[in-house]
Amino acid sequence: MTIRSEPFAAVAALPRRSVSIGAWLDRQGVFSWLMMAVPLLFLAGFVGYPFVYGILLSLQDRPVAKAGHFIGLDNFIKDFHDPIFWRVAVNTFVYTGAATLLKMVGGLGLALAMNQDFRMKNLVRALLLLPFIVPTVLSTVAWLWMLDPAFSVVNRLLIGLGLPRPGPSWLGNPALAMFSIIMINTWRGLPFYGITLLAGLQTVPPELYEAATIDGAGGWQRFRYVTLPLLKPIILIVTLFSVIFTFADFQLVYVLTHGGPQNATQLFATYAFDIAMGAGQLGLGASVALTMLPALALLIVALTLYLRRT
């Protein structure tokens, strides 16, 4: 164990009446709280305060640039009677669920493919992470162009492969638009899964595979009974991360569809944005954003507790 020097400091300071400021500052609790005071005050002011203020806003009728007045839960009641709100809720869950599942399965595939010996592996890994590190809005604009109604390169390639002209309207058809934003979210997020899971795979001791092989396990069984159980904690953490940020996604939909066509791709974040920033109804917008809170809080608490434990 480590030797700590506090007991000596305490003994030395004890006989004197006036403890010197230096010694007082050196106490662990004093030093810690003084050190943390600035960042904690900052977070209280710019996260804590807006959070509470957002809850107060959601209970007000508050047009932009005007004083608000308290209306209780009216905004939430309005939300629950709004058919678009329910559409948004369903969209958000479909989007989050489908994209997460695809990223998990695809990411695992990527990790397994990468977990072999081959040349230029580090270069390949660096290239594969590009979709994840490039600013989302900029790569999403490229997708917007790739799915352009008139000049979609995707469609031109598909037509080249024999699909009838003019090819699908990827962002104009409600069902296809949802499909498209799910695929593009997957494109961006999959490398994060893949590289993180790869790091997990590399920590699996080879002896375990050897032992399993000696016991007669085939490839699938080794994966199912050795790899998967050992990866489970990492899969869980990555998934929780990804669910939180997919659930509250904004950029991708804002750039590709603005929530359209006919709210088919509207998510909580984009809908709250439209109401608050487009229609200027800050209170109602805040109430839509806050309906994300129960699900998010559950996920955040689960992940925080899990991270704390490990």
């Binding site: 662990q28 810690s32 996260v47 989302t136 604009v141 490229a142 790091a199």
Partner: protein, 281 residues
């Protein structure tokens, strides 16, 4: 030792799947690049094979740089990213060091709070924050984003550094303490110089996150002169229903270069941070 059979096997087992992932991951960037150097006559001609280019031109880049505020946006983006990253690293250290090294009442609670704040997504806060920024009279100033980006970056840096700090052995600090150094001296002179790799990881992440940020910049910055690249590209290169695809792709590519460049220099740090940040905490 590579026999014909095992080489064929290598191709099937490694390069088929890896190649598939590579093509899917990289095609949008290829398309960005090739669009940005195609003349409009080729871009909007459906008879030509789209994947190739006949007469490359830099016209879109010249137009982008001369007709829009792209260079100004790039400067704004850099300024904001560097400043908010620096602020976040300093504040992050001030949170992480006590949490990693000191014993005091409330440490566990603070650590959990920091982790939870890191996970709060922006859409939960943007409406009240917009009102707050208005009341502080900071609308259309870079200060608005320099102040709000650290709300995501401080908890993030603190969390990543906390994990890193715990891996640094304590002996040197203990020796300094026995020699009579104060806690502040020990931290600044002995401990922090040991943590440069951790700062690089956290710094790169914070930098890429601020380059990536869109929602706050979209709401707080509505004048062209103060915009960042993502908002400028979306708000000003898409004019109504008219798309300037050549310029848009040139802007998207140029806007991605700073991040890609920094990332390519520090890719090992990045991957280490990525995996330790989420896996080890």
């Amino acid at each position: 030792m590579v026999t014909g059979r095992s080489r064929a096997e290598q191709v099937v087992r490694v390069w088929l799947p890896v190649g598939f992932f590579l093509v899917v991951a990289l095609f949008p960037f290829y398309w960005m690049a090739i669009t940005s150097i195609k003349p409009n006559s080729e871009l909007y001609n459906r008879q030509l094979m789209p994947l190739l280019i006949r007469n490359p031109t830099l016209k879109h880049y010249i137009d982008l740089l001369s007709q829009t505020h792209f260079l100004l946006w790039t400067w704004n983006t850099m300024l904001v990213a560097v400043t908010s990253t620096a602020i976040s690293l300093v504040l992050g250290v001030m949170l992480a060091y006590p949490l990693a090294r000191m014993r005091f009442a409330g440490a566990g609670l603070i650590a959990m709070t920091v982790a939870a704040i890191y996970l709060v997504p922006q859409p939960l806060l943007f409406i009240p924050l917009a009102d707050l920024i208005n009341r502080l009279d900071l609308g259309n100033t870079l200060t608005a984003v320099i102040l709000t980006y650290p709300t995501m970056l401080v908890p993030f840096c603190a969390w990543l550094l906390l994990g890193y700090f715990k891996t640094v052995p304590m002996e040197l600090e203990e020796a300094a303490r026995i020699d009579g150094a104060s806690r502040l001296q020990t931290m600044r002179r002995i401990f922090l110089p040991l943590c440069v790799p951790g700062f690089i990881s956290a710094g790169i992440f914070a930098f890429t996150l601020s380059q990536n940020e869109f929602l706050y910049a979209l709401i707080f910055l509505t004048k062209s002169a103060v915009r960042t690249v993502p908002v400028g590209v979306i708000a000003e290169l898409i004019r109504g229903d008219v798309f300037y695809w050549g310029q848009l792709m040139a802007g998207a590519l140029l806007g991605s270069i700073p991040v890609a460049l920094i990332y390519s220099f520090f890719v090992e740090h990045y991957v280490a941070g990525l995996t330790s940040g989420s896996v080890k905490g």
